[in-house]
Symmetry: C2
Subunit: 162 residues, 2 copies
C-alpha cells in the first residue's frame, strides 16, 4: 500500500465522525507561519481546533513573497489580525546552501529557479529578520500583534524571540 | 487573553506529554501541498502522525514557485517521493480577483507585489492545472506519484481528480 492509499483509508474514518462545516473566516482571527517540517503538528502543539487559524507553511517557515501574499489575503479578505511565526530546532534550512542547490537545479533542468531563499545559521537572528520583514511589509494592514517563537523538536516547547 | 496567549497555554499542556524527537526525514516519504484554510486539519483528515510528511500550505494550495522550492528541497535533501495536492470546496481563492487585489496593495503601500497568482473558478480544472505544473517541473526529481484531491469542507471527504 502506498503512503497515499494509507491516507485515503484514514480519511474515511475521519469523515465518519466529522462534525460538519465551519465558517470561512478563522475564529481566532489568527495566521500562523511555520516550516513544512513533518514534526510540527500545529493543531496539537498550539491547541487549535478546526476553523481557528490560517496555517501557511514552506521550507524554513520564512516569510517569502508567497507567504506575504497569503498573509495579505488572510488579513484583507478573511479577517485575521494576529500573526505567529514559528521556526524550529533541527531545521532542514539551517546551514542549507541554497546557491549550490539552485545551480544544481538549473544545470539539471535547464531552467534557473527564480527564488533566492538562503539557508540560515542562527535561529534567533533569523527569527528577528523574519519578524522585521512582516512588521515592515506595507501589504499587511495589521502588524501590531506579530510574535515569533522557536519550537524545540525534542520537547515541543515554544521559546519566544523578541 | 489574546489568541496567541491562548496558544501558549495549550502548548504547555502539549509539551507535558510530548513523546520526544523524531527523525528529520519524513517517515512516509510524502509531501502534502494544501491551502492555508483554517478548516483543513491535515493530521486529522489524513491520519498523519508526527514525523510522517512535509506539509506545504499557502493561499489556495497552489504550486507557486515557493511551494516548488519547498518540494524540490523536500525530495532532494530530505528523501520524500510521493506528492499529494489538496484543493477544497468554499476556498477563499475561488472567484478571487487577484489583479484588483494587487493594484490595491500597490496603491496603498507604494510597492507593487511581485506575485501573479490568479483566483480560480472551476476546482477540478484548477487541480488538473496544479497537477500538470508539478508533473512538468524539472526541479522535482520524483513525479510518478503525484495525486490530487478535493477536500469537501462540509463532509471532510476527499475526491480524487484525475
Amino acid at each position: 500500500m502506498s503512503a497515499i492509499d494509507h491516507l485515503l483509508h484514514a480519511n474515511e474514518q475521519y469523515a465518519a465522525t466529522f462534525p460538519g462545516p465551519r465558517p470561512l473566516r478563522p475564529k481566532l482571527r489568527l495566521a500562523v507561519i511555520s516550516c513544512m517540517d513533518s514534526r510540527l503538528d500545529l493543531f496539537g502543539a498550539l491547541g487549535l481546533d478546526i476553523g481557528d487559524a490560517h496555517l501557511m507553511r514552506n521550507a524554513g517557515g520564512l516569510p517569502t513573497d508567497d507567504i506575504l501574499r497569503s498573509l495579505a489575503l488572510s488579513q484583507r479578505a478573511l479577517g485575521t489580525r494576529e500573526v505567529v511565526l514559528i521556526h524550529h530546532t533541527q531545521c532542514g534550512m539551517q546551514d542549507f546552501d541554497d546557491e549550490t542547490f539552485r545551480e544544481k537545479l538549473a544545470a539539471e533542468s535547464g531552467e534557473t529557479p527564480p527564488w533566492d531563499v538562503p539557508g540560515f545559521h542562527d535561529l534567533h537572528a533569523t527569527m528577528r529578520a523574519s519578524l522585521a520583514r512582516v512588521r515592515g511589509c506595507g501589504w499587511i494592514p495589521h502588524r501590531d500583534d506579530v510574535r515569533g517563537f522557536i519550537f524545540d523538536i525534542a520537547t515541543a516547547r515554544l521559546e519566544e524571540v523578541t
